[in-house]
Symmetry: D3
């Protein structure tokens, strides 16, 4: 297969091959009545309108909106904008196209760290839990949902909202959790269990598609309650899991958002729950500021106000300000 071209490299008249996320796909009629496919394709570098005019019946069932696709085509210009004429298109997966260079990270934003390294480090923290019930609880849950935990985003539109964002967020909290637990003299095992499990419901709330969206149970129940379900279900299979300990784990999950209007049905009512909430919020806010800086496209040292904080964020160094200094 020829080399891959990303959308930001498209030029009028060029023949290209590439991997994209098919964001929209509609079967339409030309004014003359022929069928064609009207699509929107996206990769990490941009987005483009694409049309497939020929062999529509052959290609239309090969892929759906939301799929990763491999495409061959030709770039032209329509109404002063670049557009892609698709010649061939098919679903892309790591199995089928990995050897040709396909990697989901090409078409959707992803965490910066290496997924496997992050997973390995996270597992090492789980081994440090001393309480045998909590250790087996976390271990069992992480084994059961390993696949999702490796790739899930931590949210659809907020913090860590990219491939493996949930893993990155959890690991980040884990790294600072033990020290903070000791510093504030709270139960380390309980806090760390809270960190590992607080967002576990996201594996059910957010669909595992490339284009993250809410599942039916995500819409109806939500990750907070679904996460507690996972903890209860697994704990109930662990012999003699203490009832009071489970209630505390449930509360950790239910209260981790910290406020009712962030959809937590309870506010933190013991020290580990409060600290879990504060670490979660710290990690989310720091990530949101780093994203605001990364994603900003303004010239100069200040971002625009179009970010989570609704204020300009300082991106770089201040020039020396010599007001009044003369």
């Amino acid at each position: 297969m020829k080399s891959i071209t990303t959308i930001n490299e498209f030029k009028e008249g060029a023949d290209i091959r590439g991997f994209f996320l098919c964001v929209e796909k509609h079967l339409r009629n030309t004014r003359s009545g022929d069928l064609y496919l009207d699509m929107v394709l996206r990769d990490r570098t941009g987005q483009i309108i694409a049309k497939l005019w020929n062999d529509v019946s052959e290609y239309q069932d090969k892929f759906s909106a939301g799929d990763a696709v491999v495409v061959a085509g030709n770039v032209d210009v329509y109404l002063d904008k670049l557009q892609l004429n698709v010649k061939k298109i098919n679903v892309a997966s790591v199995q089928s196209y990995g050897r040709y260079g396909y990697d989901p990270a090409l078409i959707v934003p992803s965490a910066k760290g290496d997924t496997k390294e992050m997973w390995k480090e996270l597992r090492s923290y789980i081994k440090m839990i001393n309480n045998k019930y909590l250790k087996i609880l976390v271990t069992s849950i992480y084994k059961k949902y390993e696949n999702q935990l490796l790739t899930h985003p931590a949210s659809v539109v907020m913090h860590h909202n990219y491939r493996s964002g949930l893993l990155e967020h959890t690991l980040s909290m884990t790294r600072i959790g033990i020290d903070l637990a000791n510093h504030y003299n709270v139960d380390v095992d309980l806090l760390m269990t809270g960190i590992f499990l607080h967002d576990i419901g996201k594996v059910k709330e957010i669909t595992s598609e490339l284009e993250a969206s809410y599942s039916d149970e995500g819409n109806l129940i939500g990750h907070i309650v679904l996460g507690r379900d996972i903890a209860i279900e697994v704990a109930n299979k662990i012999k003699d899991f203490p009832a009071d300990l489970l209630r505390k784990v449930e509360h950790l999950i239910l209260s981790h958002q910290g406020q009712y209007d962030w959809q937590s049905p309870k506010k933190p009512k013991f020290k580990e729950a409060l600290l879990l909430h504060l670490i979660d919020k710290m990690d989310a806010k720091m990530n949101l500021m780093m994203k605001a800086i990364d994603e900003d496209v303004e010239e100069g040292i200040w971002t625009s106000r179009r970010n989570y904080f609704r204020i300009p964020i300082l991106k770089g160094d201040l020039a020396i300000m010599d007001n009044e200094s003369k």
Copy 2:
């Protein structure tokens, strides 16, 4: 046993017999070093400070704060207020003192209707559910928690916060539910199931003591999530209970408060859920206004502002207002 005297009938010097809720109980020392019991007693008509000076060792283990008690004693005056000198005191229950006139309704506020009649009527509505899964779900849960459902309040300090208030509130919603479901063309069975189960978690959230308070799981988990647990647990024992139907029932319970800041982790997302929330709110608000009128002690036709609504409520008829009419 002699006739019962209620607190509002106490007079200086009188010997009395009566049933009370023991609100507080403390073992204290007199200045001369002797032990005595310092208590607060309450019935539906008022509240009084009580002391037991003699045979303390005999009586002090016979009852606890929170118990219904049967008391014999003598009324005197201390620092210009009536006070009860207790001679005999013991725990009262329907079993032991019912024949002497004890009824919990004497010592704690209770719903106005007859509990058994209300229960019977409620059961008749359950039988009207057509969907066999929903009918067996509600029937099983109401059988399991019959005892609590007969006496529980619907809240600790808000609407229907009195003995059998939960039953009264649920029945009230039931009576209007079928018509409203038909009027708005929604699934009657689903709405009625929502009405029956929306507050079922209160049987776990609120302790069944005479003096209502929150249980540990009430504090940590809350009635919304606990109620969903009850529905899931029972549904899982019903053969072939449809998964999608259960999800809808769960959502009905989770979203019935309607807003995040009333501790619902989800807002209503389908018509039955929205209507359930609106009926629940209507019934609560109407009850709160009726309570505000009943409990007000101001003279005149307006209540004070010390009620849920923070405004004066019109209690009776307006006098004819002839301003400007001459």
Copy 3:
């Protein structure tokens, strides 16, 4: 006259005849200096840009923006979009074009029920009022404003914001009012009077044009206060109308929005007023959810978040969810 074509049926090159709402109308110059009319036309199926190039002086005074118009013309394409070249255009009314098929319901969204049937049913409820003063008050007002009540929307952009929406909304509340009044043991006549009159000020607040907007007095005074004016004015012509009863009717109208920030200058201060508010809100919210479902254009079973509730609404049946079920 030839058959009517709706906007969603327009095809390039077709000659069409149809009825539309003229949303915008501007007299403009072509680059060569000739006059032409630049218009936006709308019907229930869509919206289109239209131009009239010839005989401008003949047609330009025949109609205004906001009018229902009958149009003959030809569809062509400009800048890749369909556009209508108007050949003939005139104001349409039921009197002049009814026999050719004109019906306001063709060009503006309308209530689903038959207007006359709804009106007839509403009148039957008025007759059930027992209090003679209230009955004559409502009867007189409904007689006086019959024309507006038949066609007015209940709001400009919120609930029941379509032709005859006010009638539909009032009837809907009426149908459930008597039962709810009895259920909560409030004065049925007073509640029903409140239902009939609570939004009567809308006949003055909203202009009766096809494209609803606010009148001057709507902007300056508002429907709540204007509605009370109507009640007072008519009551003052009824011999011996009791002063205290009128004050209650006034309060019902003034407080029906329930909260200051929804522009009610008073909160409900007696039971009928509170129940009126709750029924009004219930009917509005149920209508808003049904509208959100009807108007949504997303694929799948969930609406977008672009609705009154700012959350996805479940439009259809859940697929069986088998998570965890294996």
Copy 4:
């Protein structure tokens, strides 16, 4: 009659004569079964509990709670506090006791200025209105409600909440209104009419008793809407009063609170309405700060936080602060 003693001058054992507001009055039984009157009396200097033990049947119908009373009695001590034994008591009015020194200003807080002078000055401003319709409107209304306008407070618990407070507040706004109208180039007559009439509804909302409280129509309708009623009623009797001018006056009154949650059903929608609101708010806030300073009882230069602003207010001069200055 002997000289008057105010409550702050009461001493144990003293015989006193004085004028008071009877804040509470209850007919009660002594422990021996005799009737007595239990009262709370207040004047500008303080408040005291009072009892009348003898000739109860003679005195009990002579006055009511809320009345100004003339009292003769004797001061003693009960439970370590001063208490008044009433020997004689009767209703006091300017007619009957003015010559003995009775003045309502002795028993309720009053505006500082001389009422008649304030009224005279206010009338002079009315004469400056140029628009003949507005001048006759304001003149007629002020004539009709002259008695109430002379003594009414401007609110029950907020700004200018004392005898003649409404007059003082209106005059204060009037004094700055003309200049501000010219400065902001708005219609002087319209603004001044707004100033004169914005709070006119208070004469109906607040009862004219010494102890201000809300009337029935104040509770049900409120001063904003009642004030507009007064303006409309009078304007309708003025020949050819222009309809558009009246609508503007109505809007001035309806919108003067400026925000929905201060019970204005409309926000200011033209310049005179906005300026009226801003002047009203300025005058209210300045009065509230001056009251906070006047009523504060803390030692030192800062008030407590128990005032409208919930912050300490600087009452006097700062001592020279020399921190860091050495």
Copy 5:
């Protein structure tokens, strides 16, 4: 030089000369690879896209985005819109092009009054300050920042957000300050000093470019704290400036926004501070309403809701409303 053409006078094919604000400037490649300049130009009458195709290397360093520019070019049409082909372009300043008619007021919105006259009047008010320390403080600061005070806007997007808006706003407050200070019996000198200095920090917060934006210190510190810095710095150079007086001036500046969420770190704590805040808010709100009316482009007597107040504002006279009058 030929006569100046403003953007609203541009016609297809015309050769024009004019002065504009260069809002955007990008160096881009044509599809054939040649460099060109892609610009957005603006004047008081509108905005247009402009391209410079030839001699790019000669012109591209002559000006930057944000500059005032003098342009010669030719108007043509692209994708149905007017566009300017720039032939010559250079930076414009009053020094270099004033004699050809350049005036910053041509390209950015400006206060209506004559700047020099306003400045002269403002200076006359400063002279009226009696307290010698305050007079020298204000005089020194106004001398130091005279240049900025002549041209600065009072805000970037809110009230008085145009050239010389700060001067206009301060002068407006000054004109009403003395009378209001006397009316409310507060220290005139202190209030007037507050008026002169409350927004002085804006000369540092807002860059003095034609296109107003925030400076680095504006973003990091803000005009409230920067303004206090200016007052302290100058006061410290005045011999024997009383410490307590300076603290009051500091508080006036810090608290003038009146509320924490408008970025004042303190609420007004004495009368002059409260009155300063109220005058500032009055002047800002009146200006915002006048701007809303001036800038509105709707037909009819009502503005759209797209203004600071989010409501329609009455722009002109009401037509006679004869509802109900027949």
Copy 6:
């Protein structure tokens, strides 16, 4: 001197010696006209009313309200409560009474750690700052304000509101600051400087009396702006302190509260400022929960709702909950 008795050990009839905070002191007349001192005394164990009847003229000038006092007296009972008859009273200081056991920690709540140890540890962290300007800035400030930093509370009524609370709070943040700075990859020196200086303004805002209250400049300016003043004043004396670095330090201090309504005039605009705010909030909230648990007096495992969080906090271990477990 005899041994010290604390208030919780007082018994009727006992002679006592002790150290107390004199919370209130009033010179009053007995009913017979003699002078006496009426006082409220407090120590860490409780509060009591005290009277000095003899030698009033000798003692009344020896101490003031707010002083630490040494007292000899006798306990009796008045109106059923213990009261102290003071025989001798004088001001207590460490200098004069330290050898007799006086320690401010006896009479006001204090941080748990040893002040000198905490100070030493804090100094060791200052030495770790690498940036020479920041290190000298913090070192100089901590040297200048050492005395206040050793004993100041961190607030008057909120978190760490006890003797040496500011030191305890700063040290707690310091201990976790370096790790968190590294974790989030921000400038360690800048963050640590922010931690050291964020609350430095409290040494001026809060008076150093035993009974903490706000100074005049605390009331007028506030600790946020006063703290920035301290940083600027010291930095300006450090040769070549970089202007941009100082601006960042200023912003750290100004924005550390994170939100406008907590009186920060700016929100955090770079990563170190955001992290500083989050650490500050974490430390404050954890302290508030620990205080809520420590200060609660309810029986059982749940605190009352009368704490910062307005919810019950779990104080101890849950009993095993066996609901549903049978």
